[in-house]
C-alpha cells in the first residue's frame, strides 16, 4: 500500500479539528471499501483519520418518535439490535445480506452511506425510512434528508471537513418492510439490483407505500410511479403488466460489468411483484 500517515483522534471534537486542519485526508470508518480503494490506488490520501474507535458514534438509541443510529455502528451491530428490529426491520434485512460475517463485523453503516455506491445495500431501506443524516464539523451540525444527499456514483454533498455523525428516522413499528436483492451469489457479491418497499396495509389495501431501488440508476431511485400505482388499491387487483410498466418508468439502469440494462429491468419488476405477493400473505 502507498504510504500515508495514520491519525487516531481521541474524540469527535478532536477528529473535527484535525479534519479542518489537514489537507488531503480521508476518514477511515471500518475500511472494508476505503482500504481496497487505497490498495488499488483509486484513492491516495496523505493522511488517514481513523474514527473507527470513537465509541460515541457507535450508539443506537431512541426517543418516543425517532431511532438514531450512530454512523460507526457495524452491520453486525444493526443486526443484533432489538431497537432496529422493532422499528426498522427492513434495514436489518439489508444488513444481514451484506458481504460476509467478516465484512459485517467491520463495515459500518456510515461508511456504506459515504462510499455512495448506487449498489449499497443499506441505502434503499434508509430511503424508504425517509432518513435524515446528521453531519458534524468544527463549526457545528447540520441535518440533511437522505434523498437530497447523493449526487452520483461515489458523490454526495458532504463537505471535506464534515463527518457523518448519525442517521435518524421515525420509528416504523407497524409498517411492513421488504428488502430484496439479486447478486451472483448469496455472500460476498455486490448487488446487480435491489428493491426496498415499506408499506402500511389495511385489509389487503395499501394505505401508504414507499419504494426505493438500488443499482438501477446513478444513485438510489425512488419509486414514484410504482407507489402511485399501488396506493389505495387492493394488492390482488394490481396486474403484473401494470407493475412492470410503472417500475420501468421509475428506473434507469445501464449495462455494466455486473449486469445488463434489459436484465435489470426484468428482474427489478419481478422483485417488486414478489414483494407485493409477500404483502398479500402477511
Amino acid at each position: 500500500m502507498k504510504k500515508f500517515k495514520y491519525i487516531r483522534p481521541n474524540n469527535l471534537k478532536d477528529a473535527c479539528s484535525i479534519l479542518k486542519r489537514e489537507n488531503d485526508i480521508k476518514i477511515l470508518a471500518g475500511g472494508t471499501d476505503l482500504l481496497v480503494q487505497i490498495k488499488d490506488r483509486m484513492k491516495t490520501p496523505e493522511n488517514l483519520l481513523d474514527i473507527t474507535y470513537l465509541s460515541e458514534l457507535r450508539v443506537i438509541r431512541n426517543n418516543s418518535n425517532y431511532l438514531e443510529i450512530g454512523a460507526l455502528s457495524t452491520h453486525q451491530d444493526i443486526i443484533d439490535s432489538d431497537l432496529v428490529s422493532n422499528n426498522a426491520g427492513i434495514l436489518q434485512q439489508a444488513c444481514i445480506q451484506i458481504g460476509s460475517p467478516q465484512i459485517r463485523n467491520r463495515g459500518t453503516i456510515g461508511g456504506n452511506i459515504i462510499n455512495a455506491s448506487p449498489a449499497a445495500d443499506t441505502l434503499p431501506p434508509l430511503f424508504t425510512l425517509e432518513s435524515e443524516l446528521i453531519l458534524i464539523s468544527e463549526s457545528g451540525e447540520r441535518t440533511v434528508k437522505i434523498k437530497d444527499f447523493f449526487q452520483g456514483p461515489g458523490r454526495s454533498i458532504i463537505e471535506p471537513n464534515e463527518i457523518l455523525k448519525s442517521i435518524r428516522f421515525k420509528k416504523h413499528s407497524n409498517w411492513l418492510g421488504h428488502f430484496k436483492k439479486l447478486a451472483s451469489r448469496k455472500a460476498l457479491a455486490i448487488s446487480k439490483l435491489s428493491v426496498a418497499g415499506l408499506f402500511l396495509v389495511n385489509n389487503g389495501t395499501i394505505d401508504q407505500a414507499r419504494i426505493a431501488f438500488g443499482a438501477v440508476g446513478p444513485t438510489i431511485l425512488i419509486g414514484k410511479d410504482t407507489v402511485a400505482l399501488i396506493l389505495n388499491k387492493k394488492i390482488s387487483s394490481i396486474s403484473e403488466k401494470e407493475i412492470s410498466d410503472a417500475v420501468i418508468k421509475d428506473i434507469s439502469p445501464i449495462s455494466d460489468l455486473r449486469s445488463t440494462q434489459e436484465y435489470r429491468k426484468a428482474i427489478t419488476t419481478i422483485l417488486v411483484q414478489r414483494i407485493l405477493q409477500n404483502l398479500m400473505k402477511a
Binding site: 500517515k5 482500504l35 474507535y53 467478516q102
Partner: protein
C-alpha cells in the same frame, strides 16, 4: 503512530507498525506467523481471517495500528502443547483439506461459530463460513467436519 500493544495468541506483545501495513502484513512479516494467508487482499476470499476480540475479521482490511489494545487469535494460537484443536483434528478426519490455503481461515471461522453456537445446523454452518472461499473441495467435506463437532446434548 508509535508502539502498539496487544494480545497475540494469548501473549502480550508490542510492535512498531509502519502506518501503511495491514494486520495481515504485520502478522506475516512482523511476527513470522505465516499460517494467516494472503489471498485476494480485498476482503472477498477470507484466507486472511483472524479472530479479533472474539469476532471473525479479514486481516487484509485492517491496519496493524488499528489493533492496539485488542486481542488477536491466529491459526497458530489454536493448538496447545503440540495438540491440535478439535476443530483442526475434525478437518483432518473428514478430509476437509485439499491444498490447505483456505483452511486456517475456515478453521478460525468455525471456532467463532462454535463459541456462539454449540450445535449449529447445516444452514448456520454455511452462513458462518460464507466469507471463506475454498476452490478445491467444494465445501461438502468442510461442512461435514464442522457438523461432526456439534454438541449432541
Amino acid at each position: 503512530m508509535g508502539k502498539i500493544n496487544f494480545i497475540l495468541n494469548g501473549k502480550s506483545v508490542e510492535f512498531n507498525c509502519p502506518d501503511n501495513w495491514t494486520l495481515l502484513r504485520m502478522l506475516r512479516d512482523g511476527f513470522r506467523l505465516t499460517g494467516t494467508k494472503r489471498g485476494c487482499g480485498k476482503g472477498e476470499c477470507g484466507a486472511c481471517s483472524v479472530i479479533l476480540d472474539n469476532k471473525i475479521v479479514n486481516s487484509c482490511l485492517i491496519l496493524g495500528n488499528q489493533i492496539d489494545g485488542t486481542e488477536i487469535t491466529t491459526i497458530e494460537g489454536l493448538s496447545s502443547n503440540g495438540e491440535l484443536d478439535r476443530i483442526q483434528q475434525a478437518y483432518i478426519d473428514y478430509g476437509a483439506i485439499q491444498c490447505g490455503f483456505c483452511t486456517p481461515g475456515m478453521v478460525l471461522a468455525t471456532k467463532v461459530l462454535l463459541m456462539k453456537n454449540k450445535s449449529p445446523n447445516l444452514e448456520e454452518v454455511r452462513e458462518a463460513l460464507s466469507g471463506n472461499l475454498c476452490r478445491c473441495t467444494g465445501y461438502r467435506k468442510i461442512f461435514e467436519a464442522v457438523l461432526s463437532l456439534k454438541d449432541e446434548k
